[in-house]
Amino acid sequence: MDTVSAPILEVRDLHVRIASRRGIVRAVDGVSFDVPRGGALGLVGESGSGKSMTLRAILGVLPTEAQVTSGEIRLDGVDLRQLRGSDVNRLRGPKMAMIFQEPMSALNPVARVGWQIAEGPQVHLGLSRGRAAERALELMRRVGIPDPERRFRAYPHEFSGGMRQRVMIAIALSCDPEIILCDEPTTALDVTIQDQILRLLTQLCRESGVSLVFVTHDLPVVAQVCQDVAVMYGGQLVERGEVREVLLDPRHPYTLGLVRSAPDFEYVRESLVPIPGSPPSLVSPPSGCRFHPRCAFAEDDCRTSETPLRPLPGGRSTACLHYERTLEAVEADRACP
C-alpha cells in the first residue's frame, strides 16, 4: 500500500441501515478501508454481504429506504457526508464515477450513445457541444469501440453487451474522475468479453492513474484487476490484504470457505466443500463474529467478542480471533491437495 501520498478514498466506520417491513436491516455495519491513489481495491462477497450498498453509499446513490447512519467517507480529503446534496452531485463525474452490472438498464435507451458520453463533459466541464462530442469520440476510441464516428449516433440497443459496457466505461471516464466504482461490471458478460473488459480496465487504470473499487463475487476476476482485496460478510469486513495473498493463503474461515467451495479452473479439487448454513440475517445478526454459526473453528469468544479487522504482519488484516486455525487448514490443504 502506498503510504507516501494520501489515499484517494478513505471510508471510516460506515454504517448503512435500510428500513423494511421486517425491521432495520444493517446492510453495512462498520466498514473502514482506504483506496490508494492509482490503486485498485476489490470488494468481494456474496449476495447480502453489503458490498453493493457500500459502493452506493460512497457515491451517494442509495435507494430511498436506505441511509448512511454514521461514518466518514473522505474523497480526496473531503468528507462527503458533510457536503450538501448539490455539492456531492458536482463531484459525481469529475471526481468519482460508477459503472454498473447491467449496461442495458444503466444506459438511456432513447438517447444516442455519443451524446450520453458527451453529457458529462458538457455539464461538469462546461465544454461546448462540439468539443464535448470530440471528447466523446476520443473516449470511444480509447475504450475500443470500432468505427466511433458511425457508432456515435447509435442507440444502446444496437450494441452488444460488451460494447455497451465499453460505452459505460467511456461515460465513467468522460470527466476524468479520480476514482471509478465498479459494481459487478463483468458478471453479465461472456467469458471472452469479460476478458476484454477486464484488460481494458486494468490498462486504463495504468495509463491514467484512475483508482478503482471493484465489487464482485467472482474471486479470480478480482485477482485480474486489483492489487488489494477486502472480503465482506454480513455487512462487515472480515479480511483485507494483497489479492493473491488473501485468495491463495487466507486468514479468515469465511474466505477459506469461499475459496474451497468455488470450483476453480486451475485447481481441480476432489470435492467442493460448501459453507454450511445460510447467510446471516441482517436484521438480527448473530452476536460477536457474524460468521460464527457457520464456522468450523468457532470458539466461545467468537460468540461474545466484537471482531473488527486487526492487522497482521505483512500489511494484511483479519477479523478472525483464531486465524491460526485457518492458517493450519490452508497448510493442510496444500500438503495433500
Binding site: I18, S20, R21, R22, G23, V25, A27, S47, G48, P63, P274, P276, G277, S278, P279, S281, L282, V283
Partner: protein, 299 residues
C-alpha cells in the same frame, strides 16, 4: 435410502438468502384487507345495499306490481315512505325489488363474459397461431362497435327479457377479459415452470388449468371489479330505454324513465332510483379499487 454426503440442512424451509431488500410479492390477499379504507368503505356500502335488496320482502308489505289507481301519485307519508307512482304502486317497494332484480342480473351478467373471455383468452394466448388470430379478430370486430350501440342492437334483435340481457352483455363483454388474460398468458407461458411442466409430459389442458390460470387470473378479478359497475349501469340504461325487463316488473332503469314525466311535481320518483344506482356504483367502485390494490403484485 442411500446415504449421500450432503451438508446438513436446517429442518424446514430456510429464510430466503436475499436479505430484506427484495421484498417478495405475496398473493395472500387476506392479510391486510381491513386496513384499506377504500375497501372497507366500499364493502360497507355494498353490505347496506345488498342487505336492503335481500330483505326486501321483510321491509315492505306491498307488492311491487299491484296497481291501485286510487292511490296514485301520493307524496311521501307514513304508509308510503317514498310515495306512489302514477299507477299507485309504492315507490319504496319498487325501489327495493328493482334493486334486488338489477343486482341479481348484474352479478350473473358479469360472470358470463368473465368465463367466456378467460377461456378464449387462454386459448389464444397459449396456443397462438390460427386460434390466436381468429379469436383476436373476433375481438377486433366486437371492439369496432361502441359498447352501447352493440348492446342495444343485440337486445333489440333478441327481444326484451332477462336472457337477452345476458346474451347481449356476454357477446359484448368477453373481449376485455380475453385480451387481459391472453396478454398475461403470453408472458407467463415463457416462464421456466411452464416449460418444466411440458417437460414433465403434462397435457396442455392441465398446464393451462393448473399452472397458468391460477397465476394470471387475479388480473381477471381486478378487471371484473370495474366491469361490474359498467354492467350494472348497462342494465339500468337498458331499462331506461325500455329494452330491459319488460313492465310491470320493477326495475331501476324503467323507474327512472317513468318518473321523468313527474320531475317537477314528484321529483322523488325519478331521482331516488337514480341516486340508488349512484350509490351502488360507488360501493362497487370502492370495493374494486381496494381489492385491486390487494391483489396487485406488491412492490
Amino acid at each position: 435410502m442411500s446415504a449421500i454426503e450432503i451438508p446438513p440442512v436446517p429442518p424446514g424451509p430456510e429464510p430466503a438468502s436475499e436479505p430484506v431488500l427484495v421484498v417478495r410479492a405475496e398473493g395472500r390477499a387476506a392479510s391486510r384487507w381491513y386496513r384499506q379504507p377504500a375497501l372497507v368503505a366500499g364493502l360497507a356500502i355494498l353490505a347496506v345495499v345488498v342487505g336492503l335488496a335481500l330483505a326486501a320482502p321483510l321491509l315492505t308489505p306491498y307488492n311491487p306490481i299491484t296497481q291501485n289507481l286510487n292511490e296514485s301519485l301520493l307524496g311521501p307519508s307514513k304508509d308510503h315512505l317514498l310515495g306512489t307512482d302514477q299507477l299507485g304502486r309504492d315507490t319504496f317497494t319498487r325501489l327495493l325489488y328493482g334493486l334486488r332484480l338489477d343486482l341479481r342480473i348484474g352479478f350473473i351478467a358479469v360472470l358470463l363474459p368473465f368465463v367466456l373471455g378467460i377461456v378464449l383468452g387462454s386459448l389464444a394466448g397459449y396456443f397462438g397461431g390460427w386460434a390466436d388470430t381468429t379469436i383476436m379478430r373476433l375481438v377486433d370486430i366486437v371492439l369496432a362497435f361502441p359498447f352501447y350501440v352493440l348492446l342495444i342492437a343485440l337486445v333489440f334483435v333478441l327481444g326484451p327479457g332477462e336472457r337477452s340481457i345476458y346474451l347481449a352483455i356476454t357477446v359484448v363483454g368477453w373481449v376485455a377479459y380475453a385480451r387481459i388474460i391472453r396478454g398475461e398468458i403470453l408472458v407467463a407461458k415463457r416462464q421456466d415452470y411452464v416449460t418444466a411442466a411440458r417437460s414433465g409430459g403434462l397435457s396442455n389442458v392441465r398446464i393451462m388449468r393448473r399452472h397458468l390460470l391460477p397465476n394470471v387470473i387475479s388480473q381477471g378479478y381486478i378487471y371484473a371489479m370495474s366491469d361490474i359497475v359498467q354492467v350494472i349501469l348497462a342494465i339500468v340504461t337498458l331499462g331506461y330505454l325500455g329494452l330491459g325487463i319488460p313492465p310491470p316488473t320493477a326495475d331501476l332503469g324503467s323507474m327512472i324513465n317513468d318518473g321523468q314525466n313527474f320531475l317537477s311535481t314528484h321529483w322523488q320518483l325519478t331521482t331516488i332510483p337514480g341516486l340508488v344506482v349512484v350509490v351502488v356504483g360507488l360501493g362497487l367502485s370502492l370495493t374494486g379499487d381496494g381489492l385491486a390494490d390487494l391483489l396487485r403484485p406488491g412492490q
